[in-house]
Symmetry: C2
Subunit: 264 residues, 2 copies
């Protein structure tokens, strides 16, 4: 492709998958007037439900996909490998949305392929605006990269091109910043619930902790007993957690790592 | 005290300590027109700086404290035990601001004493509005409790009475929800920094993860490879973290705990 060739904007997609990412991406595309030709799902109820929302056609057999400019594979990594095994697309771009699958996972599927990874956590009921969500793009040729950038720009202002290695590292970092963080909230809530205390009391703290990460390097605003190396409080907290060995183990490991991190 | 006795509102305090909590609380009181009679600090520079801010008098010898309605001991737990050893106050209420020290830690100091624990994280440079921060109150008699509630109500709309045991549990939960959460951000940032990737890319995710905790039970919105029991991704993430054994160990422990938590 020459540098001056005009990239035809993508006006239609086929959505493969009915999970959280499929739903949030599909909805964002639909809202921007991009046609969703088909919605594929092994579970007919879910495919029908989404197809209704988006004036689309549900399909339950992946071999019945129509021809399309682009195919969005919004499947779990395991589901992707399993369900696409015997699939081969004559034309169009096949795209996956995974942080951890390399671009090369698509190479048997179609000549042109790419990755469209929204760096966000999607839960079923919670509506998320994609407008400031980074969308990380990779294409197996310049035409794909530019097409996907154009598509991403319609739903987000934060579009970046990253390679498979960088995306994989971002995904690992995201597991810490999101999944493990949420698990810290889970533990905090359980400790309070077990003692009939109100989780609401922690909400300003949770909000402020996240707000500080927007403006400071997290290492510069670390606080707490482990940062202060306050062994007496750590000892008493661990003792109090004696009735939940899992939480005790997490407290002990993380306190030790924080002490080490801020000593070196 | 009879139920109908009128509690005289507190109009003056002495601030003992110059750390983050002292600074944030003192500033909030000063803004509400409460007189800060003295600021005590072992470090003269810090005491002088705060005294200037609050039109107050700096002192560096704890034996030179004047008489006051209330004494705010904003010291670390270790500092508190060390610096108040030989102190005895004839009158006034002595108050500490610690989540983990019991009320009884003040019993040798004065006849009336209490706890005034703001459930928030304070970093030196970052201004925090205390308006929605829970302030957890305990008094050794009703008069103290009501006086402290009145004082707290001047700077926050979230004032609760909790006992030492409940406060201790809330402090432990806060270590998970704030200190350990911030350490997750520290790890995420280090992974990206080591690979010349931009921490800004994670900010919408951090914001959304905290925002979900405002509206849902954290256990209901857990996402990620460990929650999905996606062993293949977990294995590849651990392999990639091989050059940082600390982060690898944290990833492994937390993934295992999440898998267990969502299996039971």
């Amino acid at each position: 492709m020459s540098e001056n060739a005009e990239i035809k904007p993508i006006r239609e997609i086929i959505m493969i998958g009915t999970g959280n990412v499929a739903r949030h991406l599909g909805e964002a595309f639909f809202q921007k007037g991009i046609k969703i030709k088909q919605v594929y799902g092994r579970n007919p109820d879910k495919a029908i439900k989404l197809a209704k929302l988006w004036n689309s056609i549900p399909v339950y057999d992946i071999r019945q996909l129509l021809s399309s400019e682009i195919y969005f594979f919004c499947l779990s990594d395991a589901g992707f490998l399993e369900q696409t095994q015997e699939l081969s697309l004559d034309r169009g771009i096949s795209v996956h949305v995974s942080g951890s699958l390399p671009l090369s996972a698509l190479s048997g599927l179609s000549k042109q392929n790419g990755v469209f990874y929204p760096l966000q956590t999607f839960s079923s009921d919670h509506p998320v605006s994609l407008n400031d969500v980074p969308i990380l793009i990779e294409g197996n040729d310049d035409e794909v990269t530019h097409s996907l950038m154009g598509l991403a720009s319609q739903i987000s202002t934060e579009v970046r091109v990253v390679n498979s290695e960088q995306r994989f590292l971002l995904h690992i970092a995201a597991v810490f910043a999101c999944n493990f963080t949420n698990y810290m909230y889970v533990i905090a809530e359980k400790i309070l619930e077990d003692n009939k205390l109100d989780f609401d009391l922690l909400k300003p703290l949770i909000k402020e902790t996240a707000a500080k990460a927007m403006h400071y390097k997290p290492g510069d605003v670390q606080t707490g007993p482990a940062k202060r190396k306050d062994q007496e409080i750590i000892r008493r907290h661990l003792e109090k957690l004696g009735n939940n060995k899992d939480f005790q183990e997490v407290y002990k490991l993380l306190s030790g790592k924080i002490e080490d991190h801020f000593t070196i």
